[in-house]
């Protein structure tokens, strides 16, 4: 067995790196909203970086462990406790059978990620465990967690090597204003120069209309040359769509694969960690960068995660048991 969901929280779903390979067939990618936080959580517990985790939004779930395992909670700090004792985020820790993980309330960011050593026993659908609620596939029957759900572990472990090294400083800090780097395009040429200047010069505020599909923002109108409609084309994670009304929408994990509105720019991969943690009221300035700088930043981030894996000494948990190394 596993964990039993005593309370599901606001919106808790099983997510991994997403369902790639089926975009040409209209299947949304889904996956976590903050891929870096997911990867760190998995590295800390010795999993493959892209193993499925629980993504918890604003108010976390209550999970009773019916089997011991090692877990880590990363991303926004939703106030995790274990049997009512606070536990650190961005650190692996052991949970004993019968203990309950709870979340007391949002402190930083918006979304927390819980990684379980050895992974969750959730079937792969089209190569991914990610929940895609609109098409009702992946995760637990394609839906968010509900009270009474039981989720199995695939290969749980009561303890893990180098536990004390499996800890880094929390990465999501208490802020309300962010600079988010973008590369311009694909339809930046459909905006006036004044429109581009507005987009890059003004501050935009996250509204309540913010879900896993997209994040609507409020702020000065971004001027088009001739309206915001286009013949539909593909939409990437972090695309900033600007319909004719001129207010930006950042397209996120559950976005449709294609769409018919102008996209002025795209958030760079290295800054997905920022947009995945935004919440209503947060303020964002968009900062233009080059494709070369964006790809450099992405490769630098990958190198940092590889270094973290080395530091944590992550031989996979499952490979540990047969040969106990001598110190």
């Amino acid at each position: 067995m596993s964990v039993t969901v005593l309370s599901p929280g606001l919106l808790t779903t099983v997510q991994d790196a997403g369902r790639t390979g089926y975009r040409q067939f209209g299947v949304s990618v889904s996956g976590v909203m903050d891929p870096r936080a997911m990867r760190i959580a998995n590295i800390l517990v010795g999993n493959d970086e892209n193993e499925a985790v629980l993504e918890c939004t604003m108010m976390g779930p209550q999970l009773r462990f019916d089997k011991a395992n090692v877990i880590a909670v990363t991303g926004g700090d939703l106030g995790p406790t274990l049997d009512h004792q606070p536990v650190a985020t961005y650190a692996a820790f052991s949970v004993q059978e019968g203990q309950t993980l709870r979340f007391t309330g949002l402190r930083t960011g918006c979304r927390a990620f819980i990684a379980f050593a050895g992974g969750l026993d959730v079937p792969l659908v089209m190569g991914s465990r990610s929940t895609y609620m609109k098409a009702r596939i992946g995760g637990l029957e394609g839906r968010k967690l509900e009270k009474g759900d039981v989720i199995g572990f695939r290969k749980p472990t009561a303890e893990i090597l180098n536990l004390v090294q499996r800890r880094i400083a929390p990465e999501v800090t208490a802020r309300t204003e962010y600079a988010v780097r973008v590369v311009m395009g694909p339809q930046d040429d459909m905006f006036t120069q004044a429109g581009i200047d507005t987009f890059l010069g003004e501050t935009y505020t996250v509204t309540n209309e913010f879900d896993r599909m997209g994040c609507r923002m409020e702020g000065p109108v971004i001027e088009h040359k001739d309206g915001g409609d286009i013949i539909s084309d593909g939409i990437a994670f972090g695309a900033i769509q600007v319909p004719t009304a001129g207010k930006p929408i950042i397209m996120l994990a559950d976005r449709q694969t294609t769409g018919g509105y102008t996209k002025i720019a795209n958030v760079i991969t290295a800054d997905f960690r920022i947009i995945g943690q935004l919440k209503a009221g947060d303020k964002v300035r968009f900062v233009k960068t080059t494709i070369e700088a964006a790809q450099d930043a992405l490769l630098t981030e990958r190198a940092a995660l590889a270094a973290l894996r080395t530091m944590a000494g992550s031989a996979y948990v499952k490979e540990r048991k047969p040969k106990q190394p001598k110190k």
Binding site: T20, G21, Y22, R23, Q24, F25, G26, V27, V125, M126, K134, A135, I137, V183, M184, G185, P186, Q187, I231, S232, D233, G234, I235, A236, F237, G238, A239, Q256, T257, T258, K263, N266, V267, I268, T269, I291, E292, A294, Q295, L298, L299, R302
Partner: protein
């Protein structure tokens, strides 16, 4: 060489844009380019998503940078004329028209001023180009429906339309791949599962292919439905007769 623009869509994908209109010739170019790119062995390609007028190319910048990739793509475009592109496949989709399965067939016929049988004859006479898939898993954007059977959407959308329903909305026709609400005029239903997440090929139609509907009767519907339920029905496909060019 077609006049193609490479547009940035973030730092892990780009859009190769072949034009600014919905046309069969643009779509044929995109299909040829997609096939050529799949065969090319350009490293780092993750996924290709053809749409009406472009092909979105997802790639891994850890393997190939934007500059290096666009250089390779330009080279590929230059060779496009010399690459053998097979003709498109036609996917045959059996449909039981009218009755309970197609509650709006009578309305479509009345709106067109023709008989129900004539609507079916017109609807089954065309090979519809699949420009792209999107909106929901397996939903096809088809082109080529006769304007004789154009019908406006329902004024009051239905709350639940069963998967497999074949409908008309304005100039468009298509199949609902999953149960969903919608305002299309329903003229029939296919027993074939266009989308089944647990099947080896989850989605049957592919951009660049054509769909041809074939009218069937209740007995054949039941037979195909039974096979489809067991995962044993295979839609017939055949290469399109006229050359892809």
């Amino acid at each position: 060489m077609p006049d193609v623009r490479f547009l940035l869509t973030g730092d892990t994908s780009l859009s190769a844009e072949f034009g600014n209109e919905i046309s069969e010739s643009t779509n044929a170019q995109i299909r040829a380019f997609t096939i050529a790119l799949e065969k090319s062995g350009v490293p780092g390609i993750v996924e290709l998503v053809p749409t009406y007028r472009s092909c979105m190319i997802h790639y891994d910048p850890g393997v190939i940078s934007y500059r290096a990739l666009t250089k390779r793509l330009e080279g590929l475009l230059g060779q496009l004329g010399s690459i053998e592109i097979p003709p498109s496949d036609v996917l045959e989709v059996p449909v039981l028209y009218g009755g309970e399965m197609g509650p709006d067939l009578a309305f479509v016929a009345e709106h067109a001023g023709i008989s129900e049988q004539e609507v079916v004859d017109i609807h089954t006479s065309t090979e519809y180009l699949i420009y792209m898939l999107g909106f929901t898993p397996g939903f096809t954007y088809l082109g080529g429906m006769s304007d004789k059977i154009e019908t406006p959407r329902l004024k009051q959308p239905r709350v639940k339309i069963p998967a497999g329903s074949v409908g008309i909305a304005g100039k468009q026709t298509g199949v609902y791949p999953i149960d969903s609400p919608g305002g299309w005029q329903l003229i029939g239903r296919t027993p074939v599962k266009m989308y089944d997440p647990n099947r080896e090929t989850p989605i049957l139609p592919k951009a660049g292919q054509y769909i041809k509907f074939r009218a069937i009767d209740q007995a054949e519907y039941d037979e195909i439905a039974d096979l489809a339920e067991k995962g044993k029905y295979v839609c017939r496909t055949h290469p399109r007769e006229e050359a892809a060019k």
